[in-house]
Protein backbone atom coordinates (compact mmCIF):
# COMPACT_ATOMS: atom_id res chain seq x y z
CA UNK A 1 0.00 0.00 0.00
CA UNK A 2 0.99 3.62 -0.43
CA UNK A 3 -0.83 6.83 0.20
CA UNK A 4 -3.91 7.53 -1.88
CA UNK A 5 -3.93 10.80 -3.75
CA UNK A 6 -7.01 12.79 -4.19
CA UNK A 7 -8.27 16.13 -5.31
CA UNK A 8 -7.17 15.51 -8.89
CA UNK A 9 -10.59 16.11 -10.39
CA UNK A 10 -12.86 19.09 -10.77
CA UNK A 11 -12.90 21.00 -7.46
CA UNK A 12 -16.48 22.19 -8.08
CA UNK A 13 -17.69 18.61 -8.40
CA UNK A 14 -15.70 17.53 -5.36
CA UNK A 15 -17.05 20.30 -3.18
CA UNK A 16 -20.62 19.70 -4.34
CA UNK A 17 -20.23 16.04 -3.39
CA UNK A 18 -18.61 16.77 -0.03
CA UNK A 19 -21.32 19.21 0.96
CA UNK A 20 -24.08 17.23 -0.73
CA UNK A 21 -25.28 20.31 -2.59
CA UNK A 22 -25.80 18.54 -5.91
CA UNK A 23 -29.48 17.71 -6.23
CA UNK A 24 -32.09 20.44 -5.84
CA UNK A 25 -34.75 17.82 -5.17
CA UNK A 26 -36.73 18.66 -8.30
CA UNK A 27 -38.04 15.60 -10.12
CA UNK A 28 -36.08 14.57 -13.16
CA UNK A 29 -36.45 12.14 -16.04
CA UNK A 30 -34.81 8.76 -15.91
CA UNK A 31 -35.16 5.91 -13.45
CA UNK A 32 -34.87 6.65 -9.73
CA UNK A 33 -31.52 5.44 -8.51
CA UNK A 34 -31.36 2.73 -5.90
CA UNK A 35 -27.90 4.03 -5.04
CA UNK A 36 -26.65 7.28 -3.64
CA UNK A 37 -23.36 8.76 -2.52
CA UNK A 38 -24.02 8.04 1.14
CA UNK A 39 -24.61 4.34 0.55
CA UNK A 40 -21.47 4.09 -1.55
CA UNK A 41 -19.34 5.92 1.01
CA UNK A 42 -20.74 3.83 3.86
CA UNK A 43 -19.98 0.59 2.02
CA UNK A 44 -16.48 1.77 1.19
CA UNK A 45 -15.80 2.73 4.82
CA UNK A 46 -17.08 -0.63 6.01
CA UNK A 47 -14.79 -2.40 3.59
CA UNK A 48 -11.73 -0.31 4.46
CA UNK A 49 -12.35 -0.71 8.19
CA UNK A 50 -12.62 -4.46 7.84
CA UNK A 51 -9.94 -5.25 5.27
CA UNK A 52 -7.76 -2.19 4.90
CA UNK A 53 -7.06 0.28 2.15
CA UNK A 54 -5.38 -2.33 -0.01
CA UNK A 55 -8.67 -4.23 -0.28
CA UNK A 56 -10.58 -1.12 -1.25
CA UNK A 57 -11.30 -1.36 -4.95
CA UNK A 58 -14.16 -0.02 -6.97
CA UNK A 59 -15.09 -3.58 -7.91
CA UNK A 60 -15.18 -4.69 -4.28
CA UNK A 61 -17.27 -1.73 -3.18
CA UNK A 62 -19.66 -2.30 -6.07
CA UNK A 63 -19.94 -5.99 -5.21
CA UNK A 64 -20.71 -5.05 -1.61
CA UNK A 65 -23.65 -3.04 -2.93
CA UNK A 66 -24.79 -5.70 -5.39
CA UNK A 67 -24.03 -3.53 -8.36
CA UNK A 68 -21.64 -3.51 -11.31
CA UNK A 69 -18.35 -1.69 -10.92
CA UNK A 70 -19.07 1.01 -13.47
CA UNK A 71 -22.32 1.91 -11.77
CA UNK A 72 -20.36 3.68 -9.05
CA UNK A 73 -19.09 6.16 -11.60
CA UNK A 74 -22.61 7.47 -12.06
CA UNK A 75 -22.44 8.83 -8.53
CA UNK A 76 -18.76 9.45 -7.89
CA UNK A 77 -16.14 10.78 -10.32
CA UNK A 78 -13.46 8.28 -9.36
CA UNK A 79 -11.67 6.47 -6.60
CA UNK A 80 -9.78 9.53 -5.41
CA UNK A 81 -12.94 11.46 -4.77
CA UNK A 82 -14.50 8.45 -3.06
CA UNK A 83 -11.58 8.33 -0.67
CA UNK A 84 -12.02 12.05 0.03
CA UNK A 85 -15.66 11.45 0.82
CA UNK A 86 -14.80 8.51 3.07
CA UNK A 87 -12.37 10.57 5.10
CA UNK A 88 -14.61 13.58 5.49
CA UNK A 89 -17.44 11.28 6.43
CA UNK A 90 -15.66 9.43 9.23
CA UNK A 91 -14.12 12.62 10.57
CA UNK A 92 -17.68 13.56 11.49
CA UNK A 93 -17.50 10.88 14.19
CA UNK A 94 -14.92 12.87 16.12
CA UNK A 95 -15.96 14.78 19.23
CA UNK A 96 -19.61 13.66 19.46
CA UNK A 97 -19.82 15.99 22.43
CA UNK A 98 -18.66 19.25 20.96
CA UNK A 99 -18.33 21.07 24.28
CA UNK A 100 -15.84 18.62 25.72
CA UNK A 101 -12.89 19.97 23.77
CA UNK A 102 -13.69 23.58 24.63
CA UNK A 103 -14.35 23.43 28.36
CA UNK A 104 -12.26 22.69 31.42
CA UNK A 105 -8.52 23.01 31.86
CA UNK A 106 -6.41 23.28 28.71
CA UNK A 107 -4.50 20.17 29.62
CA UNK A 108 -7.68 18.12 29.85
CA UNK A 109 -8.94 19.59 26.61
CA UNK A 110 -5.79 18.74 24.69
CA UNK A 111 -5.66 15.31 26.24
CA UNK A 112 -9.22 14.65 25.15
CA UNK A 113 -8.43 15.93 21.69
CA UNK A 114 -5.39 13.72 21.32
CA UNK A 115 -7.18 10.69 22.72
CA UNK A 116 -10.12 11.20 20.36
CA UNK A 117 -7.80 11.27 17.37
CA UNK A 118 -5.89 8.27 18.67
CA UNK A 119 -9.11 6.26 18.99
CA UNK A 120 -10.20 7.50 15.61
CA UNK A 121 -7.11 6.11 13.90
CA UNK A 122 -7.49 2.81 15.69
CA UNK A 123 -11.05 2.59 14.43
CA UNK A 124 -10.16 3.63 10.89
CA UNK A 125 -6.53 2.67 10.35
CA UNK A 126 -6.78 3.37 6.64
CA UNK A 127 -7.16 7.09 7.43
CA UNK A 128 -3.52 7.07 8.49
CA UNK A 129 -2.46 6.30 4.96
CA UNK A 130 -4.32 9.17 3.37
CA UNK A 131 -2.47 12.28 2.34
CA UNK A 132 -3.00 15.09 4.81
CA UNK A 133 -1.44 17.61 2.46
CA UNK A 134 -4.61 18.61 0.66
CA UNK A 135 -7.48 17.61 2.85
CA UNK A 136 -10.97 17.37 1.39
CA UNK A 137 -12.52 20.61 2.59
CA UNK A 138 -15.84 19.08 3.52
CA UNK A 139 -18.01 19.52 6.59
CA UNK A 140 -16.13 16.90 8.57
CA UNK A 141 -12.75 18.52 8.08
CA UNK A 142 -14.10 22.00 8.79
CA UNK A 143 -15.82 20.90 11.96
CA UNK A 144 -12.71 19.14 13.17
CA UNK A 145 -10.54 22.20 12.58
CA UNK A 146 -13.03 24.48 14.32
CA UNK A 147 -13.40 22.30 17.39
CA UNK A 148 -9.69 21.78 17.73
CA UNK A 149 -9.02 25.49 17.51
CA UNK A 150 -11.54 26.04 20.28
CA UNK A 151 -9.51 23.68 22.45
CA UNK A 152 -6.54 26.04 22.24
CA UNK A 153 -8.50 29.27 22.30
CA UNK A 154 -8.48 31.69 25.23
CA UNK A 155 -5.00 30.74 26.37
CA UNK A 156 -3.37 34.01 25.37
CA UNK A 157 -1.84 32.52 22.24
CA UNK A 158 -1.66 34.20 18.86
CA UNK A 159 -3.69 32.85 15.97
CA UNK A 160 -0.54 31.49 14.42
CA UNK A 161 0.40 29.71 17.60
CA UNK A 162 -3.08 28.26 17.86
CA UNK A 163 -2.85 26.83 14.36
CA UNK A 164 0.65 25.53 14.96
CA UNK A 165 -0.44 23.89 18.18
CA UNK A 166 -3.38 22.09 16.58
CA UNK A 167 -1.10 20.92 13.80
CA UNK A 168 1.45 19.76 16.36
CA UNK A 169 -0.94 17.66 18.39
CA UNK A 170 -2.42 16.12 15.26
CA UNK A 171 1.05 15.40 13.93
CA UNK A 172 2.07 13.81 17.18
CA UNK A 173 -0.94 11.50 17.17
CA UNK A 174 -0.41 10.55 13.54
CA UNK A 175 3.22 9.81 14.13
CA UNK A 176 2.71 7.87 17.30
CA UNK A 177 -0.33 5.84 16.31
CA UNK A 178 1.51 4.74 13.21
CA UNK A 179 3.94 2.61 15.12
CA UNK A 180 1.22 0.82 17.01
CA UNK A 181 -1.45 0.54 14.39
CA UNK A 182 0.80 -0.72 11.68
CA UNK A 183 1.59 -3.72 13.80
CA UNK A 184 -2.12 -4.55 13.92
CA UNK A 185 -2.43 -3.82 10.21
CA UNK A 186 0.50 -6.04 9.39
CA UNK A 187 -1.00 -8.83 11.45
CA UNK A 188 -4.32 -8.63 9.62
CA UNK A 189 -2.80 -8.36 6.16
CA UNK A 190 -0.07 -10.96 6.51
CA UNK A 191 -1.91 -13.32 8.85
CA UNK A 192 1.21 -13.56 10.98
CA UNK A 193 0.97 -12.41 14.58
CA UNK A 194 3.55 -10.15 16.15
CA UNK A 195 4.80 -13.02 18.31
CA UNK A 196 5.03 -15.42 15.39
CA UNK A 197 6.89 -12.84 13.36
CA UNK A 198 9.37 -12.12 16.11
CA UNK A 199 9.85 -15.79 16.89
CA UNK A 200 10.64 -16.43 13.23
CA UNK A 201 12.94 -13.44 12.92
CA UNK A 202 14.74 -13.42 16.26
CA UNK A 203 17.12 -16.34 15.54
CA UNK A 204 18.41 -14.58 12.44
CA UNK A 205 18.80 -11.34 14.35
CA UNK A 206 20.87 -13.16 16.93
CA UNK A 207 23.16 -14.40 14.16
CA UNK A 208 23.98 -10.96 12.77
CA UNK A 209 23.65 -8.76 15.82
CA UNK A 210 26.99 -7.55 17.05
CA UNK A 211 26.79 -6.39 20.67
CA UNK A 212 30.20 -4.72 20.29
CA UNK A 213 29.00 -2.49 17.51
CA UNK A 214 25.61 -1.78 19.07
CA UNK A 215 26.24 -1.69 22.81
CA UNK A 216 23.39 0.68 23.65
CA UNK A 217 20.89 -1.24 21.58
CA UNK A 218 22.10 -4.45 23.20
CA UNK A 219 21.38 -2.95 26.62
CA UNK A 220 18.07 -1.20 25.87
CA UNK A 221 16.51 -3.43 23.23
CA UNK A 222 15.83 -6.51 25.36
CA UNK A 223 14.45 -4.49 28.27
CA UNK A 224 12.20 -2.42 26.02
CA UNK A 225 11.12 -5.48 24.08
CA UNK A 226 10.07 -7.34 27.20
CA UNK A 227 8.44 -4.39 28.93
CA UNK A 228 6.75 -2.74 25.97
CA UNK A 229 5.89 -5.93 24.18
CA UNK A 230 3.87 -7.14 27.11
CA UNK A 231 2.32 -3.84 28.15
CA UNK A 232 -0.60 -1.95 26.76
CA UNK A 233 0.31 -0.77 23.27
CA UNK A 234 -0.70 2.81 23.95
CA UNK A 235 1.89 3.30 26.62
CA UNK A 236 4.09 5.13 24.15
CA UNK A 237 1.13 7.36 23.37
CA UNK A 238 0.62 8.30 27.01
CA UNK A 239 4.32 8.81 27.53
CA UNK A 240 4.62 11.05 24.50
CA UNK A 241 1.50 12.99 25.29
CA UNK A 242 2.76 13.75 28.80
CA UNK A 243 6.02 15.11 27.39
CA UNK A 244 4.20 17.12 24.75
CA UNK A 245 1.75 18.63 27.21
CA UNK A 246 4.59 19.58 29.53
CA UNK A 247 6.23 21.39 26.65
CA UNK A 248 3.02 23.11 25.65
CA UNK A 249 2.62 24.13 29.26
CA UNK A 250 5.85 26.09 29.08
CA UNK A 251 4.54 27.96 26.04
CA UNK A 252 1.23 28.75 27.68
CA UNK A 253 2.92 29.90 30.85
CA UNK A 254 5.08 32.25 28.80
CA UNK A 255 2.06 33.55 26.90
CA UNK A 256 0.14 34.34 30.07
CA UNK A 257 2.95 36.43 31.53
Amino acid sequence: MATEFTGTGDPARSMALLWRTAGDGGSKPGPRSALDVDRIVAAAVRLADAEGLAALSMRRVAAELGVAAMTLYTHVPGKGELVDLMLDSVLGELYPDEDVVASGAWRTRLRTLARANWDFFLRHPWALHLSSGRPPLGPGVMRKYELELRAVDGLGLSEIQMDLLVTLVNGFVRGTVGGVQEKVDAERVTGISEEQWWAATEPYVAQVFDAQRYPTAARVGPVAGEELGAYDPDRSFEFGLDRLLDGIGVLILDASR
Copy 2:
Protein backbone atom coordinates in the same frame (compact mmCIF):
# COMPACT_ATOMS: atom_id res chain seq x y z
CA MET B 1 -1.09 4.96 -2.83
CA ALA B 2 -1.32 3.07 0.42
CA THR B 3 1.34 1.68 2.71
CA GLU B 4 3.48 -1.11 1.38
CA PHE B 5 3.60 -4.24 3.44
CA THR B 6 6.67 -6.27 3.76
CA GLY B 7 8.14 -9.14 5.67
CA THR B 8 5.65 -11.61 4.23
CA GLY B 9 8.26 -13.95 2.87
CA ASP B 10 10.87 -16.20 4.37
CA PRO B 11 12.63 -14.35 7.20
CA ALA B 12 15.84 -16.26 6.60
CA ARG B 13 15.98 -15.10 3.00
CA SER B 14 15.10 -11.54 3.99
CA MET B 15 17.79 -11.35 6.64
CA ALA B 16 20.39 -12.84 4.33
CA LEU B 17 19.57 -10.20 1.75
CA LEU B 18 19.57 -7.35 4.24
CA TRP B 19 22.94 -8.30 5.64
CA ARG B 20 24.29 -9.43 2.27
CA THR B 21 25.36 -12.74 3.75
CA ALA B 22 24.20 -14.81 0.80
CA GLY B 23 27.23 -15.56 -1.36
CA ASP B 24 30.32 -17.12 0.17
CA GLY B 25 32.38 -15.99 -2.81
CA GLY B 26 33.10 -19.52 -3.95
CA SER B 27 32.84 -20.02 -7.69
CA LYS B 28 29.64 -21.59 -8.91
CA PRO B 29 28.26 -22.92 -12.17
CA GLY B 30 26.04 -20.76 -14.32
CA PRO B 31 26.69 -17.43 -16.00
CA ARG B 32 28.03 -14.54 -13.92
CA SER B 33 25.23 -12.10 -13.30
CA ALA B 34 25.45 -8.56 -14.59
CA LEU B 35 22.97 -7.61 -11.91
CA ASP B 36 23.14 -7.68 -8.16
CA VAL B 37 20.97 -6.68 -5.23
CA ASP B 38 22.77 -3.39 -4.73
CA ARG B 39 22.20 -2.25 -8.29
CA ILE B 40 18.52 -3.19 -8.11
CA VAL B 41 18.03 -1.40 -4.80
CA ALA B 42 19.85 1.68 -6.03
CA ALA B 43 17.73 1.86 -9.16
CA ALA B 44 14.55 1.40 -7.14
CA VAL B 45 15.54 4.16 -4.72
CA ARG B 46 16.35 6.49 -7.59
CA LEU B 47 12.96 5.83 -9.12
CA ALA B 48 11.05 6.26 -5.87
CA ASP B 49 12.91 9.46 -5.04
CA ALA B 50 12.12 10.92 -8.43
CA GLU B 51 8.57 9.73 -9.04
CA GLY B 52 7.21 8.47 -5.77
CA LEU B 53 6.14 5.10 -4.44
CA ALA B 54 3.20 4.93 -6.83
CA ALA B 55 5.57 4.85 -9.79
CA LEU B 56 7.67 2.09 -8.26
CA SER B 57 6.87 -1.08 -10.12
CA MET B 58 8.97 -4.10 -10.85
CA ARG B 59 8.61 -3.40 -14.56
CA ARG B 60 9.82 0.17 -14.17
CA VAL B 61 12.81 -0.81 -12.05
CA ALA B 62 13.71 -3.51 -14.54
CA ALA B 63 13.42 -1.07 -17.42
CA GLU B 64 15.70 1.33 -15.57
CA LEU B 65 18.29 -1.43 -15.49
CA GLY B 66 17.77 -2.50 -19.09
CA VAL B 67 16.49 -5.88 -18.08
CA ALA B 68 13.25 -7.85 -18.28
CA ALA B 69 10.86 -7.61 -15.34
CA MET B 70 11.15 -11.21 -14.27
CA THR B 71 14.91 -10.99 -14.10
CA LEU B 72 14.60 -9.08 -10.85
CA TYR B 73 13.07 -12.13 -9.22
CA THR B 74 16.34 -13.97 -9.60
CA HIS B 75 17.87 -11.56 -7.10
CA VAL B 76 14.97 -10.49 -4.94
CA PRO B 77 12.02 -12.59 -3.74
CA GLY B 78 9.38 -9.96 -4.46
CA LYS B 79 8.42 -6.34 -4.27
CA GLY B 80 7.88 -6.36 -0.52
CA GLU B 81 11.41 -7.49 0.15
CA LEU B 82 12.74 -4.96 -2.35
CA VAL B 83 11.03 -2.19 -0.43
CA ASP B 84 12.55 -3.50 2.79
CA LEU B 85 15.97 -3.37 1.19
CA MET B 86 15.36 0.13 -0.11
CA LEU B 87 14.45 1.42 3.32
CA ASP B 88 17.30 -0.22 5.15
CA SER B 89 19.66 1.02 2.48
CA VAL B 90 18.67 4.70 2.64
CA LEU B 91 18.59 4.64 6.43
CA GLY B 92 22.32 4.15 6.21
CA GLU B 93 22.57 7.77 5.03
CA LEU B 94 21.47 9.04 8.42
CA TYR B 95 24.03 10.52 10.80
CA PRO B 96 27.10 10.38 8.54
CA ASP B 97 28.98 11.73 11.53
CA GLU B 98 28.17 9.19 14.17
CA ASP B 99 29.56 11.20 17.08
CA VAL B 100 27.30 14.17 16.51
CA VAL B 101 24.26 12.58 18.05
CA ALA B 102 26.15 11.34 21.09
CA SER B 103 28.12 14.40 22.13
CA GLY B 104 27.23 17.83 23.44
CA ALA B 105 24.14 18.93 25.31
CA TRP B 106 21.14 16.63 25.18
CA ARG B 107 19.04 19.34 23.60
CA THR B 108 21.45 19.78 20.74
CA ARG B 109 21.72 16.04 20.29
CA LEU B 110 17.97 15.57 20.06
CA ARG B 111 17.61 18.56 17.79
CA THR B 112 20.24 17.12 15.47
CA LEU B 113 18.51 13.76 15.56
CA ALA B 114 15.12 15.23 14.70
CA ARG B 115 16.55 17.45 12.00
CA ALA B 116 18.38 14.53 10.42
CA ASN B 117 15.18 12.52 10.25
CA TRP B 118 13.26 15.50 8.91
CA ASP B 119 15.81 15.98 6.11
CA PHE B 120 15.78 12.28 5.47
CA PHE B 121 12.05 12.22 4.85
CA LEU B 122 12.29 15.24 2.59
CA ARG B 123 14.94 13.44 0.57
CA HIS B 124 13.03 10.15 0.47
CA PRO B 125 9.35 11.00 0.85
CA TRP B 126 8.32 7.48 -0.04
CA ALA B 127 9.84 6.28 3.24
CA LEU B 128 6.99 8.03 5.02
CA HIS B 129 4.52 5.66 3.44
CA LEU B 130 6.25 2.52 4.56
CA SER B 131 4.94 0.59 7.50
CA SER B 132 7.00 1.19 10.60
CA GLY B 133 5.30 -1.66 12.43
CA ARG B 134 7.69 -4.39 11.38
CA PRO B 135 10.87 -2.73 10.27
CA PRO B 136 13.39 -4.67 8.19
CA LEU B 137 16.00 -5.55 10.77
CA GLY B 138 18.97 -4.81 8.58
CA PRO B 139 22.17 -2.94 9.27
CA GLY B 140 20.61 0.45 8.52
CA VAL B 141 17.79 0.02 11.00
CA MET B 142 20.09 -1.37 13.68
CA ARG B 143 22.57 1.44 13.27
CA LYS B 144 19.84 4.05 13.44
CA TYR B 145 18.41 2.57 16.63
CA GLU B 146 21.83 2.37 18.25
CA LEU B 147 22.82 5.92 17.42
CA GLU B 148 19.50 7.34 18.54
CA LEU B 149 19.70 5.50 21.83
CA ARG B 150 23.13 7.00 22.37
CA ALA B 151 21.59 10.44 21.97
CA VAL B 152 19.41 9.81 25.02
CA ASP B 153 21.95 7.85 27.03
CA GLY B 154 23.59 9.14 30.17
CA LEU B 155 20.71 11.41 31.13
CA GLY B 156 19.63 9.38 34.12
CA LEU B 157 16.73 7.79 32.28
CA SER B 158 15.67 4.17 32.51
CA GLU B 159 16.09 1.90 29.51
CA ILE B 160 12.34 1.99 28.98
CA GLN B 161 12.30 5.75 29.03
CA MET B 162 15.17 5.85 26.56
CA ASP B 163 13.30 3.62 24.15
CA LEU B 164 10.09 5.59 24.60
CA LEU B 165 11.91 8.84 24.01
CA VAL B 166 13.49 7.67 20.77
CA THR B 167 10.12 6.41 19.61
CA LEU B 168 8.55 9.72 20.56
CA VAL B 169 10.96 11.90 18.63
CA ASN B 170 10.72 9.64 15.60
CA GLY B 171 6.94 9.68 15.80
CA PHE B 172 6.91 13.42 16.08
CA VAL B 173 9.03 13.84 12.97
CA ARG B 174 6.95 11.36 11.01
CA GLY B 175 3.74 13.05 11.98
CA THR B 176 4.98 16.56 11.36
CA VAL B 177 6.83 15.99 8.14
CA GLY B 178 3.76 14.32 6.72
CA GLY B 179 1.80 17.52 6.56
CA VAL B 180 4.55 19.35 4.70
CA GLN B 181 5.89 16.64 2.50
CA GLU B 182 2.53 15.47 1.26
CA LYS B 183 1.93 18.90 -0.19
CA VAL B 184 5.09 18.51 -2.23
CA ASP B 185 4.12 14.96 -3.12
CA ALA B 186 0.69 16.04 -4.21
CA GLU B 187 2.18 18.75 -6.36
CA ARG B 188 4.48 16.33 -8.14
CA VAL B 189 1.86 13.64 -8.64
CA THR B 190 -1.04 15.82 -9.66
CA GLY B 191 0.95 18.49 -11.45
CA ILE B 192 -1.07 21.14 -9.69
CA SER B 193 0.77 23.59 -7.46
CA GLU B 194 -0.41 24.44 -3.98
CA GLU B 195 -1.38 27.93 -5.12
CA GLN B 196 -3.25 26.67 -8.17
CA TRP B 197 -5.09 24.16 -6.05
CA TRP B 198 -6.09 26.70 -3.47
CA ALA B 199 -7.07 29.25 -6.10
CA ALA B 200 -9.32 26.67 -7.72
CA THR B 201 -10.81 25.50 -4.43
CA GLU B 202 -11.16 28.72 -2.49
CA PRO B 203 -14.24 30.10 -4.31
CA TYR B 204 -16.15 26.94 -3.50
CA VAL B 205 -15.02 27.06 0.11
CA ALA B 206 -16.31 30.61 0.32
CA GLN B 207 -19.70 29.40 -0.87
CA VAL B 208 -20.16 26.77 1.80
CA PHE B 209 -18.17 28.19 4.68
CA ASP B 210 -20.41 29.44 7.46
CA ALA B 211 -18.57 31.90 9.71
CA GLN B 212 -21.38 31.60 12.28
CA ARG B 213 -20.84 27.88 12.67
CA TYR B 214 -17.07 28.05 12.56
CA PRO B 215 -16.17 31.32 14.28
CA THR B 216 -12.77 30.22 15.53
CA ALA B 217 -11.75 28.82 12.17
CA ALA B 218 -12.96 32.01 10.53
CA ARG B 219 -10.66 33.99 12.79
CA VAL B 220 -7.59 31.76 12.75
CA GLY B 221 -7.73 30.21 9.28
CA PRO B 222 -7.01 33.32 7.22
CA VAL B 223 -4.20 34.49 9.49
CA ALA B 224 -2.56 31.08 9.54
CA GLY B 225 -3.07 30.66 5.81
CA GLU B 226 -1.36 33.93 5.02
CA GLU B 227 1.44 33.58 7.53
CA LEU B 228 2.21 29.89 7.16
CA GLY B 229 1.53 29.72 3.46
CA ALA B 230 4.21 32.33 2.81
CA TYR B 231 6.77 31.22 5.38
CA ASP B 232 9.27 28.44 5.33
CA PRO B 233 7.39 25.15 5.39
CA ASP B 234 9.38 23.76 8.26
CA ARG B 235 8.21 26.41 10.69
CA SER B 236 5.71 23.94 12.14
CA PHE B 237 8.59 21.54 12.59
CA GLU B 238 10.66 24.04 14.54
CA PHE B 239 7.67 25.09 16.60
CA GLY B 240 6.76 21.52 17.45
CA LEU B 241 10.31 20.52 18.20
CA ASP B 242 10.70 23.42 20.65
CA ARG B 243 7.56 22.35 22.50
CA LEU B 244 8.66 18.72 22.52
CA LEU B 245 12.15 19.50 23.78
CA ASP B 246 10.72 21.68 26.54
CA GLY B 247 8.58 18.75 27.61
CA ILE B 248 11.47 16.34 27.47
CA GLY B 249 13.47 18.82 29.53
CA VAL B 250 10.95 18.46 32.34
CA LEU B 251 11.42 14.69 32.30
CA ILE B 252 15.19 14.91 32.30
CA LEU B 253 15.15 17.43 35.10
CA ASP B 254 13.00 15.06 37.16
CA ALA B 255 15.28 12.15 36.38
CA SER B 256 18.39 14.00 37.51
CA ARG B 257 16.94 14.87 40.89
